[in-house]
């Protein structure tokens, strides 16, 4: 990918406090990953550049760096400069090389992303999907590790065949991608162990 010189004046600011903001965002993601279906709130000041929402931008700033190629879908491509400037992360052309994927458009098929191997299932891609909205007690019923009985969540903007695609992802265990779903300043997580029913 040819790189243009960056015009830093057009780059939106990142974390006001890089150390404590990153810590608080990570704790939100950790709480959400440990309790699938629980919604975490990103409680820091951050004006993300379009098309990123605050939660997606915050997670990228907290977790991406030169070790983590990030793949952007066509809708998220305008955020490349912001991510390169603040995170120093390579932008991956191939989804199979991505540690993180930022999806601002429709959720694509999951198999092209890195799935990890049976020996190293942790090398799979973590997808950051910007949903239309997140509601507690919505139409999806979740079960699996981190959930006492079942959890309910409403996610706007998932494709119609998501339940089937996610069952296929479940079936790959221990391989498979993990999903962080963001909306505005909120996020929830679907690790590969979580089963969903509509």
């Amino acid at each position: 990918m040819p790189t243009q010189p960056l015009d830093a004046s057009r780059i939106a600011p990142g974390f006001a406090d890089p150390v404590l903001d990153a810590q608080s965002v990570f704790r939100g993601v950790l709480a959400a990953m440990a309790r699938p279906g629980a919604i975490a709130e990103i409680d820091i000041a951050l004006e993300p550049p379009a098309p990123l929402n605050a939660a997606t931008a915050a997670v990228c700033l907290a977790l991406a760096d030169f070790d983590t190629p990030v793949w952007l879908d066509a809708a998220a491509a305008p955020a490349a400069d912001f991510l390169r400037f603040h995170c120093g992360c390579p932008i991956a052309d191939d989804p199979a090389e991505a540690r993180f994927a930022v999806i601002a458009g429709a959720l694509p098929a999951l198999p092209p992303f890195a799935q990890g191997s049976d020996e190293y299932p942790d090398t799979s891609t973590t997808l950051l999907f910007q949903a239309g909205g997140l509601r507690p007690d919505g139409g999806w019923s979740l079960a699996g590790p981190g959930i006492a009985q079942t959890a309910r969540i409403g996610i706007d903007g998932l494709p119609a065949d998501f339940a089937m695609a996610w069952r296929r992802n479940n079936a790959l265990f221990p391989r498979g991608v993990d999903l962080v779903i963001t909306a505005d300043r909120r996020l929830c997580c679907l690790p590969r162990t979580t089963t969903v029913r509509s």
Binding site: V29, E119, D122, A148
Partner: protein
């Protein structure tokens, strides 16, 4: 900087007493930000794959391997200024290892520390799970010496990794069976292997098998850090954790034929304390905070009766 702004032996509960002056010249919680990001990513994948050991780039810490470098790195990557930290070593809050790690985070992160399990948001532990049940939202960080449960059976990492990948755990069952053939029971008393969420065989770290049932469906998040061996793994809340056994030799925990000599508890893990060189000994709770609180409550009741 003054070395001891805190009296570590002060009773818990008073925040001011447990504040230590933070030291200049270090990043928040000691580790640099790139290291924290790397460890945080490893922790998230560990939570997503319960019981699987995620490799990570373990750093040199200002204390030797074997003193909890893995647990400290996990805690340093998780902890924030609002957290309240408890550290235990074999159940005790007042041993060298526990005091030093608590002081380390008080100085480098400026966090409040406590000896009360209920007040802590993060409990770092060496070799015990607290007797007080943990609650939703708490994080238990284990210090792990050897994260690979199959290591004593198969020394090659390439092979154990393949065994985990293929869910090939027959040799582990055989090693437990050999115990039964030799001793008539499964002789493992600590580091008793568990099966996490029906998939990965995992080392619970050298906790007594007495604590294994507490891991099962625990509402707290359990994180494990092995510094020398460079592995992080996790058990999400409410996740089934089963101690390996046989139908005709079911798993059971230790029992004692006397209560704690100090607080009278009959449902805790007891340490044997040698009192003299004439064979004198007593058994008392290994969890010092739990024991002290029971003694304080009993003393309070006695005073109340007298009044």
């Amino acid at each position: 900087m003054t070395m001891s702004a805190t009296d570590e032996s002060a009773p818990a509960g008073d925040d001011e007493q447990h504040r230590t002056a933070t030291i200049d010249g270090y990043n928040f919680a000691f580790l640099d930000e790139q290291t924290k990001r790397m460890i945080r990513r490893a922790i998230l994948k560990a939570v997503a794959i319960p019981g699987y050991q995620v490799p990570f780039g373990s750093r040199e810490m200002p204390l030797p391997y074997g003193w909890g470098t893995g647990g400290i790195q996990v805690t340093a990557s998780v902890i924030g200024p609002d957290d309240v930290l408890k550290v235990i070593d074999q159940g005790a809050d007042d041993t060298t290892n526990a005091v030093n790690i608590r002081r380390f985070f008080a100085k480098t992160a400026g966090v409040d520390t406590t000896e009360r399990t209920k007040e802590a948001t993060i409990v770092q532990t060496r070799h015990r799970v607290p007797e007080t049940p943990l609650a939703e939202g708490q994080i238990l960080v284990y210090q792990v010496p050897i994260p690979e449960p199959l290591r004593w059976i198969e020394p090659r990492e390439t092979e154990t990794r393949k065994m985990h990948a293929l869910e090939e755990y027959g040799t582990m069952q055989v090693s437990l069976y050999e115990d039964i053939a030799k001793f008539g029971r499964i002789a493992k008393g600590y580091n008793y292997p568990v099966l996490v969420n029906g998939r990965y065989v995992m080392s619970p770290s050298p906790i007594p098998k007495f604590d294994n049932p507490k891991m099962d469906r625990n509402p707290a998040l359990q994180l494990f850090g092995a510094g020398r061996e460079k592995r992080i793994y996790a058990i999400p809340p409410h996740t089934p954790v089963k101690s390996l056994d046989f139908d005709d030799y079911p798993f059971d925990v230790e029992t004692w034929n006397q209560p704690c000599a100090l607080c009278g508890a009959t449902d805790t893990f007891l340490d044997e304390v040698v009192l003299d060189d004439k064979g004198g000994r007593m058994f008392c709770c290994s969890d010092t905070e739990y024991c002290a609180e029971r003694q304080a409550r009993a003393a309070g009741r006695a005073r109340g009766d007298a009044a």
